[in-house]
Amino acid sequence: MPMEPFALPKAFDEMHGKDGLRACFAGVARWLDGTGHEALGLKRREAELLFRRIGITFAVYGEGGDPERLIPFDLIPRILGQGEWQRLARGLEQRVRALNLFLKDVYGKRDIIRAGKIPVSLILGNATYRPIMEGFTPPRGVYTHIAGIDVVRTAPDEFFVLEDNCRTPSGVSYMLENREAMMRLFPELFAMHRVAPVGHYPEELLETLKSVAPERCQGTPRVVLLTPGAYNSAYYEHCFLADEMGVEAVEGADLFVRDDIVYMRTTNGPQRVDVIYRRIDDEYLDPEAFLPDSMLGVAGLMRAYRAGNVALANAPGAGIADDKAIYPYVPDMVRFYLSEEPLLANVPTYLCERDADRAYVLEHMHELVVKLTHGSGGYGMLVGPHSTRQEREDFAARIRAKPSEYIAQPTLALSTVPTLVEAGIAPRHVDLRPFVLTGKEVRIVPGGLTRVALRDGSLVVNSSQGGGTKDTWVLEDDGPTGTGQPQSPSQSQSQSSGFQSQSQSQRQGS
């Protein structure tokens, strides 16, 4: 297949590397060489049908057109070797441990503030700080049970954390469905590679949730998933995860609180609920504690929570740990709480409310990415190298008016992975969102959600901004088996049967 010339020669391509084809991609490179553009086009249409039929859509509001869209799915997988994944996973675990300790500390003793590591104003003055969480420790001291850490890469051994998502990170259903689709479309590729499975994520999630049930909970904890309902953009994911875990997806009106105990209304009468995996934002959780006119939440939920009768995952107030103004301090948190050097680096970040930082940002806007401190989803940002003079002037004025609302980071040469485009195959920028589960222990399913910026040269991977996704493979070794020769029958047989049992076990839960 013809390859487009690489648009950004600076960027590290995960398949082709700097010194030729990288080992983990050898099998896929051979496969692409042997597969025509038409054959791939057919597979792409087949994949689209598959996704439409299952109904995996993402709602995009406020732009006109069809609000229920498919997230474009790219057929070429993004592949990580076992060694590089292990290094990344250790860094992720370390970071999330530190974030949880930080949350316990800021709602408790506040050692880190007294030690002068983080200014108190950044915490107490922060809109995501929840005073109601003070003087109370949730079960096992865990606050962010499900964390999505967005990671970007610039070289074989250079990973940076772009942002932490400690509240209600979404996207894990795409990780699971992308794998299902790939296994159906390309069984021969899986026979050629030892790909670490991801299908057990719902089980790991359920174990994690059960492990943080309130101490006084007797027997097997009853877990539910609390969703805002069918109009939420991630509703498909809520139902999918609830189904896979075998728990109810409930709405606020399905729950009520009596004597500080949470019940679910069932045909068998009220049933006590022990753990709530909530996919509703803090402000809407409980009209008694937060927004009084919320129709989505459950009155009295926070009372029940503080009384130790129900667990909430993630904990209210966990957002203080992923706030962009707090982000620059995460490496210090790792040092402070764990007495370790951070394994994963931050992207250097300029806080516009600091005078020196602001001066630098205003001077260098053409080479920086400017973001809203509290924004998300890729909205309201300026990508300096791709901006016009007018856009830069607009942003400069906004920064001067409200400096604390903006941060800036250098534009990184994000790594690329070959991606199917109109003209053939071309490199496109990617990021990675691994999901880190924390309960009794930390669990990470190998891989995560790879998002890809489908437009040539674009660095914005958010699905709301025209990004797509790829299946993310973590190999059990550092490269595919076989060396271009046909494999011996026995070998390929045992491997493909291994994947069969894997796909079967994934379907059991549904």
């Binding site: 399905d254 209304r265 009468g269």
Partner: protein, 311 residues
């Protein structure tokens, strides 16, 4: 099961059945109006479907065009045909994960198509094909449900909704023609009476069933007996309330024997029909008997709701 889920399934069952019943009622009324040239038929149908109050708030007379519009299209008539299909589909969408693919497709396709073709029903040539289509779609949905659903709680709530609605419908159909049915069995009916009795049978697809069971010309007390007391007829009141009673029992047994007022009421209504005799019912007054059944059906629906669905 979540009460909200059970509630949606229950109403899904009721509304799909209701749409089919309105179509059956309209088919017969249109035929009768054509034969007798009386607008009284349209008035009877409004009463039978409980839509008379809403209708006469807007109209002075029961004319063909206005009644068809009210019973098929009018969004203000929540018991109308199209609003029932819309309500069924809305409930189905709420609990899509609890439905089988066949059920979902049956109701979703019906909804999509009905919105498109319903306006044709108001034309002279369009009415009969449209009503036949709706009847077929409601049979398809029922078939999809009974052939593809696991016999678990989800099935029981859907089925109970269907049966409660169906039993109520049969009682109402009989009730609007109760004066014609209250005649002495030996009395020769007029041609109009005869058509009335036929119409009742036709509306529950029971003309042939009558002949198979009784082998005799139509007699009003036998028509009433067939529709009230004969368990062999799937749309008879006893057949429907027996299923409601059995289904509530199955729900209670699956929940460790948990029972409430709805179980008692359903058992009582079932027993009343099971041990009833048509002579006694006619002597005591058919209208009084049917009115009581309709009232009890309403009470039963409320008790099911408060025990299972909206507590």
């Amino acid at each position: 099961m979540l009460s909200r889920t059970a509630d949606s399934l229950f109403w899904l069952g009721r509304y799909t059945e209701r749409a089919g019943n309105v179509a059956r009622g309209l088919t017969v009324a249109a035929r009768m109006a054509g034969l007798t040239h009386r607008d009284e038929e349209w008035r009877s149908l409004l009463v039978a479907t409980g839509a008379d109050e809403g209708y006469f708030a807007k109209h002075d007379e029961a004319t063909r065009e206005a009644v068809l519009h009210h019973l098929i299209l009018d969004p203000d008539n929540s018991s109308g045909l199209l609003p029932s299909i819309e309500a069924a589909r809305r409930n189905a969408r709420q609990v899509r994960a609890a439905l089988t693919v066949d059920m979902w497709e049956a109701i979703n396709d019906t909804w999509n198509e009905a919105r498109r073709i319903a306006p044709d029903a108001l034309t002279v040539d369009g009415l009969a094909p449209f009503l036949d289509w709706v009847k077929a779609r409601s049979l398809l949905f029922y078939g999809a449900a009974s052939d593809t659903m696991l016999r678990d709680e989800a099935w029981r709530f859907t089925h109970m909704g269907t049966m409660l609605e169906r039993g109520d419908n049969t009682a109402r159909l009989l009730d609007v023609r109760h004066t014609m049915l209250a005649k002495q069995p030996e009395a020769e009916g007029s041609a109009v009476d005869y058509m009335q009795w036929q119409a009742v049978l036709r509306s529950v697809s029971a003309q042939r069933a009558y002949q198979w069971l009784y082998h005799t010309r139509l007699q009003p007390n036998l028509v009433a007996e067939l529709l009230i007391l004969r368990p062999e007829l799937p749309r008879s009141m006893i057949a429907c309330y027996r299923r409601v009673d059995q289904t509530l029992d199955a729900l209670a047994n699956a929940a460790g024997g948990r029972r409430g007022e709805c179980h008692r009421l359903a058992g009582e209504l079932h027993a009343k029909l099971k041990f009833g005799r048509i002579e006694t019912i006619m002597d005591g007054g058919l209208h009084e008997f049917l009115t009581e059944c309709i009232d009890r059906n309403v009470a039963l629906g409320e008790c099911i709701a408060s025990f299972y669905l909206t507590h």
